[in-house]
Symmetry: C2
Subunit: 290 residues, 2 copies
């Protein structure tokens, strides 16, 4: 075996799109400090750092399925079923949902806001049915649906299938209906604006990637209300989190005190963390080295 | 889709042997405190936590190859080539070397000290050639070989091929020759005794797995001289590390002060950490839940 063989093997073993998606999940949980979320130095007694590692390992075959041209909904369901083999429950449901159309776009040859939106617009009723089935594998906290969507409450899981088929609702359309109450659905619907913005922020920074991602998290937390906090607490709490994230950036509040307070009160800005995972994936696909 | 379909999909997405190997690498680096090694709260400026994450992601196709019956040497080379796509260099070379025969044994249906030894004994000259090629992808610190093995210095990489073929040396035989100077080679040669001992320790404990693995690390550090410390420093330093690990267990030295001192002096008991990764893998294969 000569030098050329070594170089060929090195090239062949570069991270695939599915591997970058998995790595994005791992880098996200390792980013620290990330007030209110599990990070390297903070965890919840029933939601451990190690459960995020197991979750990320389990999602991989679902990402591979999407990268190989599999349907988004079915691939998502496979990823979530794989993620569920740990006792922490919902570790990365939102992040995987955000990543799926990005993985599909990247594997079709080009990852841009436009191509990701093309993937969203090409989703089907079958994708939507599979998305609902994914709720069978883990308990996911979601906002109360509005009255006119009562028959489509995701907490029904697989049994929502007749209502979805009856309405001929695609997964992209479901996300558009959910966008006002759910930050991940808003990314799907509005062209993944924050995701790509955070990718630029992470890619152009200096120092360890996990430090840049933690800074990106805090920046987004200071701008957008976290919809997971609204769903699991209330809008007032989400406003408080945003206000205090701004105070941290302004230097008037200590980030570790902020983090300790959020963990002690069980306030978990999970949607913001999910979007950081999306930003990490886009940055990796665009050549981020670490 | 009914309840049975959901249960079937849940069963289909259980972690495979290759996924457990990858997860073992992730859990190892996340185990904390692990004095002298990268853990969740300590890293070296040129060897970051995030580089271990990227390394673990990159090794996976090599583990899959071994689990699918691929040759040990070739699978190892593939895993190390995949691991090398990060700037930290050698993140998990020794751990992957320890894991490969365990993965092969598990995928053949039964993982015991005896079946792992069968795998070692069935290695070939081709496996040995491929093992040497793996040194082309990363710089690995190794002990000076004895004079009579000068033509087999692993630092020659691929160019050692003629000498290996001339001696008709299998990978298992190479490990037997290296066992007195290398703790991983000693595990290969002596039936993976410490690996399985740590697996029992980790599996039967309570609390987060990463805490149990950190305790297993300290226990092994207090018993065996770390051969990576001998190779990169000297035998006196390895004795000091073992003595102080005992002092930590006895309560006369603080584990965090010990950890800080080792990191500041660049003393890295990497072989001990590699064996913990092996123990985690065996425990996962034996049903460890997290």
């Amino acid at each position: 075996m000569n030098r050329e063989d070594i170089e060929r093997r090195r090239a062949e073993t570069r991270r695939s799109t599915a591997q970058n998606a998995q790595l994005a999940l791992l880098l996200e949980v390792a980013s620290d400090p990330k007030p209110g979320n599990v990070d390297r130095t903070r965890e919840y007694p029933d939601l451990l750092f190690e459960q995020f590692l197991a979750g990320a390992v389990g999602t991989y075959p679902g990402f591979q399925a999407a990268a190989n041209g599999g349907a988004i909904g079915e691939s998502f369901e496979q990823a979530i079923a794989g993620m569920s083999h740990q006792r922490g429950g919902n570790t990365q449901f939102g992040a995987v949902l955000l990543l799926m159309p990005l993985v599909a776009a990247a594997s079709r040859g080009s990852l841009t806001q436009a191509t990701a939106t093309d993937v969203v617009e090409s989703t089907t009723v079958e994708d939507c049915v599979a998305f609902y089935r994914a709720f069978e594998y883990v308990d996911v906290s979601v906002p109360e649906p509005p009255a006119e969507m009562g028959d489509l409450d995701v907490r029904q899981g697989a049994s929502a299938e007749p209502a979805i088929r009856n309405r001929e609702l695609t997964l992209g359309e479901l996300m558009a209906e959910s966008a006002p109450r759910d930050g991940i659905a808003a990314e799907w619907t509005d062209g993944f604006g924050w995701t790509f913005e955070l990718a630029r922020y992470i890619k152009t920074g200096d120092g360890p990637v996990t430090e840049r991602a933690a800074a990106a998290y805090l920046a987004l937390l200071s701008r957008e209300l976290d919809t997971f906090v609204i769903a699991t607490h209330d809008r007032e709490t989400a406003y408080e989190v945003r206000r205090r994230a701004n105070a941290v950036i302004d230097g008037t509040e200590n980030v570790y005190a902020f983090a300790a307070d959020l963990v002690s009160r069980g306030i978990n800005p999970g949607t913001t963390a999910d979007i950081v995972a999306g930003g990490l994936f886009v940055a990796l696909e665009r050549g981020l080295e670490l």
